[in-house]
Subunit: 367 residues, 2 copies
């Protein structure tokens, strides 16, 4: 068993707040998952967090997440038993228990899903994910960038349906099949992705993202307690850039093909008065345009924060009149490589745009 | 090993002709499968046929079929290796070899699919199926009528995608999930349904349908050789009823949700001159209306035959000007029970119609 530290109850709140910001509008509101996890903690559960580098190379790690259109989660609460189902399916399929679970995406509610299963099963969670944020599909993961296999993966629903995808031709086919099944499931499915070895997690996981989210959430909570600006705390914690401050003027949103797609228009306030900002999203914010000119795109993290509380605003929660501040946080370095950009830049989402970043001039210098 | 008799090359032709008639317009044109099976026979393969009642109760039987919109098969030939894929998947899943394979549906090309796999793998085929005809979905099978479990089942495509549905809430969910996956696969998938024990096949299989199709096909071929009326031979062989003779005047057809749906209008010729006949179909012919009045519905077999050759005409092959004769053949007795009608009468297809049959007055007397 690798060295680990138990995640505290206090840290759960920080994790939820930080992960929701890193979700860049998607990954699902963590609120229901946080409530369910706190209930498990109230019953005595404590989840150990282990560093990816402390895993044995041969360890088997389960990659846990919930898939679907975030808007559906507004009406469906979290249930640890559902999160456990695909984990058990995968253990049955491969014929052994997992040594640890990890996050598919640190962004949004999916930061909490592996903790729900781990709290029930008594497993540790690895301090790593495969996105460093949230993204709409497995094609956008670090494991896909690394050309690891996409199968097998398990999907379950809240009825009694269980699907195991035992082979897929590639990561795009993996996503195509999963997406059709989850739409039929009601645009929400519980999944356990292809198991990863400890070696694969070390080589291709995005390390330290659970601690990153906890630190980010802590900064926001502490700024609120001190009556300081939580948005400034986000920028300071993550080396971010402020993009725009204003008021949501228009939202266009539709749940299609298991995704939530649309755009939001924002009218400037304060120093941005007289300017407009447009955000386009597919579950997550993908492109930002200031007065019609693209000034940030995926894979940079485009986050919409409540201007007062610093709380993240999900794409399914955007509404007319909200006072928000758009910020950009730097993307994981892996996604800025040529192969990484193939999987995460706007063209990977069918958008005819190159990657644009406020961090771009310094990109080569990033670790 | 139960007693068996090898199916001869000559019988393959009869099987294809008879199965295509029993397909009631669906099940897919058997032509490609027949060519592939003859190629295997030319290489020395011979498939044993065993009676269902000769199976050991504990035998494990693989249920093999191809799923999808028949129209797609016009452009995709048969490949025994593809048919074998889901069989191997299922054997891996359950951890043992099958003792025999059986047909999901005797109708159309699916009569030949299990023979393709059996010829490659050296397995016998059981003289039974679960429909006694063709139907659009597993909900319409005798196994569903018997409330046997619908899972696990395996789906594979021509790329490298393989899906195992390890649990489903019921037969309708089984169909919903499979249908979405197969549409994504390109409206054609190779499947191995839930394995059945010898006992289950004895209790719930439709027995003798392979021999029935061979006898039907033989009757048609012999009538052609003797310059007798093949349509009359079909009626005599199966105790059928002639419904209408005429010329196809209009066809409306669309491939949606992995099904081929539509309707055909027929203008009367000979003794039916001055009358019209309308057929509605979902892969298979479901309802016949003579001059607007329903005179036959599923589960009775509604078959469209070329008026000269007696060859079946599939729903994907209907075209303006064809000279055709519509005939009705009696449904398997199981489907005429109240539970059977729940699964196979028009309401099981979303049609607001009761079962209507030219055989109805004598239905109680049928075995």
């Amino acid at each position: 068993m690798p060295q680990s530290k138990l995640v505290t109850v206090e840290e759960l709140d920080f994790l939820a707040t930080g992960a929701w910001i890193l979700g860049t509008g998607g990954g699902g509101d963590p609120y229901h998952g946080l409530l369910a996890l706190k209930a498990l903690y109230a019953d005595g559960a404590r989840v150990p967090l282990v560093a990816a580098d402390d895993l044995d190379d041969g360890a088997m790690v389960g990659v846990v997440s919930q898939m679907g259109a975030p808007v559906v989660n507004l009406e469906r609460t979290a249930d640890p038993a559902m999160t456990v189902k695909p984990v058990r399916m995968m253990e049955t399929h491969v014929g052994r228990r997992f040594d640890a679970l990890m996050l598919s995406e640190i962004g949004g509610g999916n930061a909490l899903q592996p903790f729900l299963a781990a709290a029930v099963l008594g497993y540790p969670v690895v301090d790593a994910d495969s996105m460093g944020r949230a993204f709409p599909s497995v094609f956008h993961t670090s494991f896909a960038v690394g050309d690891l296999t996409a199968h097998p993966y398990a999907l379950a629903d809240i009825r009694d349906n269980e699907v195991m995808v035992t082979r897929c031709a590639d990561w795009l086919w993996s996503e195509r099949i999963a997406r059709k099944v989850l739409v039929e499931f009601g645009s929400r499915a519980f999944s356990c992705k292809a198991p990863r070895t400890g070696r694969e997690v070390k080589d291709w996981g995005i390390h330290g993202t659970v601690r990153q989210a906890i630190a980010l959430g802590r900064a926001v909570h502490e700024a609120r307690l001190r009556h300081e600006d939580p948005v400034a705390a986000v920028l300071a914690s993550q080396d971010g850039r402020r993009l725009f401050r204003g008021k949501i003027a228009d939202v266009e949103r539709r749940a299609t093909e298991g995704h939530l797609r649309g755009a939001a228009e924002c009218e400037g306030l304060d120093e941005d008065r007289g300017h407009r900002y447009r955000l386009e999203f597919q579950n997550e914010f993908l492109v930002g345009r200031r007065d019609g000119v693209v000034d940030v795109t995926t894979p940079d993290l485009i986050c919409v924060l409540d201007s007062v509380s610093g709380e993240a605003v999900g794409t399914e929660r955007l509404r007319y009149g909200q006072r928000v501040t758009m910020v950009a946080l730097p993307a994981p370095a892996l996604f800025l490589t040529p192969k990484g950009l193939l999987h995460t830049a706007p063209r990977a989402f069918g958008l005819d745009l190159d990657f644009v970043s406020p961090f771009a001039p310094a990109a080569e210098a990033r670790p």
